[in-house]
Amino acid sequence: MTKPRRAQPLPIRITHWVNVPVLTVMAMSGLQILNAYPMFGPRGEPWRWVPLGGSLQPFPSWMTAGGWLAGARHLHFALAWLLVANACVYLVYLVASGEFRRRWFWPPRDTVPAVRQQLYYVDAFWFRIASAIARVRKKPPPARKRLPPPSGLYNGLQRAAYSAAFSLGVLEVLSGLAIWKPVQLHRLAWAMGGYDAARVVHFVALLALVAFAIVHVVMVCVHWRQFPEIVTGGKPHA
């Protein structure tokens, strides 16, 4: 990059905030569709090894959108285009602007810093607990050993998390296409392990995306001073 860019350039802010309602309604309409047959595996031999698979109870209405199977399918297949269009805008911007360099996980560069960042978090967690114990016992606080590795806009762990989330989105689109067109896109369905396996991939990737979203919101709450950047763009940042 030639000159420092703002922490969150406008195209990134727009695509980020479009994703919030679109992904939410995609997930909720997806659960409504799953409610129609909340099992995995072909008829006659259900796959009970899938997480939640054997005992999947219909999802409560507050978790679903679309009201019924046909309504949810129409919602899902309409919004899917907005999701993909939004992802394309994001991808084109990221590549054309060079933004991907400071956002995407690049293993040779980011693996060691990501591990050090994780060790720092573990250390910080124990430091808090040890400090609290010391306070109760009225003893001097313990010495802090580890410092976070130097980072740019994002640290290695953030790059890993954001890259994983985007990859999960790609996996959701591919497995979704395989479920939608198991005959016409039979090579894609084959790559997913077949129609029934594609349903598992589609659901397990959703669970992973929900886990990402929860951790993401928790981290935003912990580092709440950085939150305005995703609204206003923030200051120029290396």
């Binding site: 129609a36 008829r43 006659g44 046909a70 309504g71 129409h74 919602l75 297949f77 309409a78 349903r199």
Partner: protein, 225 residues
């Protein structure tokens, strides 16, 4: 024209969200427009020659049998024939024996239900394309399958004359049972289950789309796989 106030914009956005995304009537409004767009995409993805591959058979008692509006399987009227008509040069009424005289095909293909499940059976019957040739179907775009118990579905012609779209009278090497649509039903590799009309009474080649039982209640019309 006066300028729109913020309240007008809010009202318009609310109205668009309500009428455009009314999931009780998903084939209307914005959702209906997106269905038409998805139909264009599905037609473009459809290959008239690509055939679905073989799969392991589902145990027969595990293959679901759905009906609408009646608890027990309907029984065909005495002297049942399959009417092939509409825009054809030679309308015909074919008995089960007549159907069995026509070239027969076997396919063991995966069934995809709109609910999400899959199941596999071996189906024996005569291709719809065979009936089209027999009756001299004219160059029209739609085919309507109608049952003697009130169910029906209309198809795009390309899907109906796909080699794996058949009028099936046999399932898993047995005569088609009453639960699965006896005496004859539509079976196809390229459509979801609700397009595959059971208890078949007529096949008609038409120049217009005539909806369907579930399609008129809000389910997608094209429903290809």
């Amino acid at each position: 024209m006066r300028r729109w106030s913020r309240r007008d914009w809010l009202r318009a956005a609310g109205a668009l969200a309500l009428t455009g995304c009314d999931t009780d009537h998903p084939r209307a409004g914005l959702l209906g427009a997106m269905e038409r767009w998805n139909r264009v995409v599905q037609s473009a993805l459809f290959s008239p020659t690509l055939e679905a591959g073989d799969h392991a058979l589902t145990p027969e008692d595990a293959f679901p049998a759905y009906h609408v509006g009646h608890a027990t399987a309907p029984i065909a009227p005495a002297g049942w024939t399959l009417e092939v008509g509409g825009s054809v040069a030679r309308p015909r009424a074919l008995s089960l024996d007549d159907l069995m005289q026509l070239p027969r095909v076997d396919y063991r293909i995966e069934h995809h239900c709109v609910e999400g499940w899959s199941a596999v059976a071996k189906w024996t019957g005569v291709r719809v394309s065979e009936l089209a040739a027999l009756c001299g179907a004219r160059d029209v775009d739609y085919v309507e399958f109608r049952s003697f118990e009130g169910y029906w579905s209309s198809w795009d012609r390309d899907s109906a004359i796909h080699p794996q779209t058949v009028i099936a009278y046999g399932m898993n090497d047995q005569p088609l049972g009453p639960a699965h649509g006896a005496p004859a039903r539509v079976y196809s590799a390229v459509k979801l289950g609700y397009k595959q009309v059971k208890y078949l009474a007529s096949v008609r080649f038409l120049d217009r789309e005539t909806g369907g039982y579930w399609e008129d209640r809000g389910y997608e019309w094209f429903a290809g796989t």
